[in-house]
Assembly symmetry: C2
Homo-oligomer: 110 residues x 2
Amino acid sequence: MDSDDALAIFSALSHPTRLEAFRLLLRHEPEGLATGALVDASGLSQSTFSSHLAVMVKAGLVRSAKQGRQNIQRADVRALTDLMLYLANDCCQGHPELCQPLLAELASCC
Amino acid sequence: MDSDDALAIFSALSHPTRLEAFRLLLRHEPEGLATGALVDASGLSQSTFSSHLAVMVKAGLVRSAKQGRQNIQRADVRALTDLMLYLANDCCQGHPELCQPLLAELASCC
DNA sequence: TCCATTCATCGACTTTATTCGATGGGAAGG
DNA sequence: CCTTCCCATCGAATAAAGTCGATGAATGGA
């Protein structure tokens, strides 16, 4: 994970439609959702949502797999993990104690 | 932390100048950096960087404090923590096991 | 008081993102 | 083979972001 990777992920998640779609996919791990279901959930036109989906796939946040005549989309949890580690690294480099609250809350969350 | 808060943070971090500035501030916690030092590091004009800084402050990622005639900027680590928890919550809701790798790596990082 | 420093805001311009309808490719079913 | 369904891509229009120089407010020092 370098700056460009992180930047692509931040950009991908900086739009309401894409953030909601990604969260929806997270909640549907690991089976995923068909593109059509995501389009319906977004309320946008098929072509508009398709371009949003392309942004997320390009950023590595979502993985697409053909299944018959529909495409199944899955959230890439690993990309999310890497993003958090990328930021945590800068944070912990100088002041490890700053990450303790995060660690504690994540432990109780998961 | 709701969707709008998260969206503002993702947008703030989706620009190279802002991402680098925020990482620089993280590495300078807790003393912070003057706006001028951030401008110099960015290589952009003072007015352009000022607008980038305003985006980060508005998103709650950076806190500004006057000190004499310069403004000291500090990264808000809490905002970052909240952002990660916001995403982890969707992830863990259905499948707690997906967060285990993150937790493990964070523990060894910090 | 007068000047230099620091930085936010304004106005104008350029670049990029978002959105949609229309078109077309590929797969399943009749 | 023909039709239907699913979805990516294209082209054009509108909206939003990014960039800069210029201006001005506020502060501290001469």
